[in-house]
Every structure is written in structure tokens, then in C-alpha cells.
């Protein structure tokens, strides 16, 4: 698959993400952030299992017979925290745009370091000047958007 097609999928993923943030935040409004995060994860578990059921024949899966626990299998820990935090902040004064903007700052900085050092075995890719310029444009835009 071409790089542009993969990029387009990522763009669509981002759009889905803000719809998700919106829905999750409305759930947090009624139930409280941590409680909403649990409901989100239970619904997500079912959705993921259904996706798994649909797709495992075509993509195959690793046998669980020789399953060995690895620390990275507790990955949901971070997501659980992120969903609760976002559920909380969207319902404060900073709203969706403020939440997304702050998340952008954290992710840009993290993405930079991650590509440079290859955190968690995700493979090293040295950021070039274009990556840097791109990050600066994005931060400018996010700043304008938060105050709009």
C-alpha cells in the first residue's frame, strides 16, 4: 500500500478519534471520568472481540497454547488513564479544542523522542528538518484554534 494511502487512513483515524472523544466525554458527563472509561473499555472489548472473530481466519493469529506474559501486554493501562483524563478535561472550561491541543503538544514531543530513540522497540527513524517545520506549523495552528 502506498505511503499516501496509509496517510489518508491515518487522517480518517484522527477524525474518528475526535468523534470518539466527544462521545466518551458525554459519557463521562453522566457517569464520571473513571467510570465512563470502564464502560468505554467494556464496549471496546466486545467490539475488538467481534472484529477478531470476523478477521482471524483471513489474517491468522498466534496460538495461545504457548502464551507467555510480557509487560507490553498490559498496554491498556495507559489507554485507561488517557480515556479517564480526556473525559475529565473535555467537561472543564478548556473543552474539546483545548483538550486536543494539549494532547497534541504531548504527542508531538513524545513522537519526536520516540522516533529518535526508538522507544518501546518501535524502530528508529531520525526526524529531519521537514518533521521539525511540520511540528512548528502544527503548534502555531493549535494555538490559534484553542483561543478561537
Amino acid at each position: 500500500m502506498s505511503q499516501n494511502a496509509v496517510s489518508a487512513i491515518a487522517l480518517l483515524g484522527g477524525a474518528l478519534l475526535s468523534l470518539m472523544v466527544f462521545l466518551n466525554a458525554s459519557l463521562a458527563y453522566y457517569l464520571g471520568p473513571v467510570q465512563a472509561s470502564l464502560v468505554v473499555h467494556i464496549v471496546g472489548s466486545f467490539a475488538a472481540l467481534i472484529l477478531f472473530k470476523i478477521s482471524y481466519r483471513s489474517i491468522g493469529f498466534r496460538s495461545l497454547k504457548n502464551y507467555q506474559f510480557h509487560w507490553s501486554h498490559m498496554v491498556g493501562f495507559f489507554g485507561a488513564f488517557a480515556v479517564a483524563l480526556i473525559g475529565y478535561t473535555v467537561n472543564t472550561d478548556i473543552g474539546i479544542s483545548g483538550t486536543v491541543g494539549s494532547a497534541v503538544l504531548g504527542q508531538i514531543v513524545y513522537g519526536w523522542f520516540s522516533d529518535y530513540f526508538g522507544f518501546f522497540g518501535s524502530g528508529r527513524k531520525k526526524p529531519n528538518w521537514q518533521d521539525t517545520a511540520q511540528a512548528i506549523f502544527l503548534l502555531l495552528g493549535v494555538g490559534l484554534l484553542i483561543n478561537a
Partner: protein, 135 residues
């Protein structure tokens, strides 16, 4: 979120994205259930009837999103993935904010989006310019 994403990318390339997604949600569910049992209680279940039906679908979108994450990161890297996710998120998020009347200054928001899109397209523009020079 960044940490979550790169571990998922790794898991996705080792096994497959959907298994990584199941693992992500199940471990998150277990962690949260324990957390709520220790620090809160399960009274919130009584509030379910007040919640709009649509609000429950966020988790399902999350599952699809994690499949997308695990597919994309090994192919274009964490930084590029983050940038495209942010682009889509910002544009769709501002549309929601405008609909919810949380954004009052639409021209400024549009300028902000323009900067973001410019940043996103920067590489494509540079590539086109340099290939034209060679030709």
C-alpha cells in the same frame, strides 16, 4: 497516548493488530475494574438510564481506531502517524466545537486549521518541488 500507541504498534507487528486491540481493551478493563473497586463503587450503573444511547458507542470507535493505529505506525512511523491523527482530529474536533457553539471566532479557527493543514502537506510539497528540480 503516545506511549500506548507505540507499544500497540509493536504488538501489532509482532502478532496482529486485532489481537493487540483485544489485549489493549481487556487489560484496560481489568485495570479499571480493580481501580474502581478499590477507590470508588459501582453505584454509577444506576445512572445508565440517563445516558443517551449514542454515548455508549465511543468504545466501539476506539476498537476500530486501535486497529488503524497498529496498521499505520509500522508503515509510516510514530511522528508521521501522530501528525495525521492530529490533523483529522483537529478538523473534525473544530467542526464539533462549532456545532456545539464552543468556537466563537470562526476566521481565527480557520487560520489555525490552515496552519495545521500546511504543516501536514509540507512533505508532499517539498517532495514535488525537489522532483521538479531534478526533471
Amino acid at each position: 497516548m503516545g506511549v500506548n500507541r507505540s507499544i500497540l504498534g509493536k504488538l501489532g507487528s509482532e502478532s496482529n493488530p486485532i489481537q493487540a486491540s483485544v489485549l489493549n481493551h481487556l487489560s484496560g478493563t481489568i485495570f479499571l475494574a480493580v481501580f474502581i473497586a478499590v477507590f470508588f463503587d459501582f453505584q454509577f450503573i444506576n445512572e445508565f438510564n440517563k445516558v443517551p444511547f449514542l454515548s455508549f458507542w465511543g468504545g466501539a470507535i476506539g476498537a476500530v481506531f486501535i486497529v488503524i493505529t497498529s496498521f499505520v505506525i509500522p508503515r509510516i512511523g510514530v511522528l508521521k502517524t501522530s501528525i495525521f491523527f492530529i490533523g483529522g482530529q483537529i478538523v473534525c474536533g473544530s467542526l464539533i466545537d462549532i456545532l456545539m457553539e464552543k468556537i466563537s471566532n470562526i476566521p481565527q479557527a480557520a487560520l489555525g486549521i490552515a496552519f495545521i493543514l500546511l504543516g501536514l502537506c509540507l512533505k508532499l510539497i517539498v517532495e514535488k518541488l525537489s522532483s521538479r528540480k531534478e526533471a
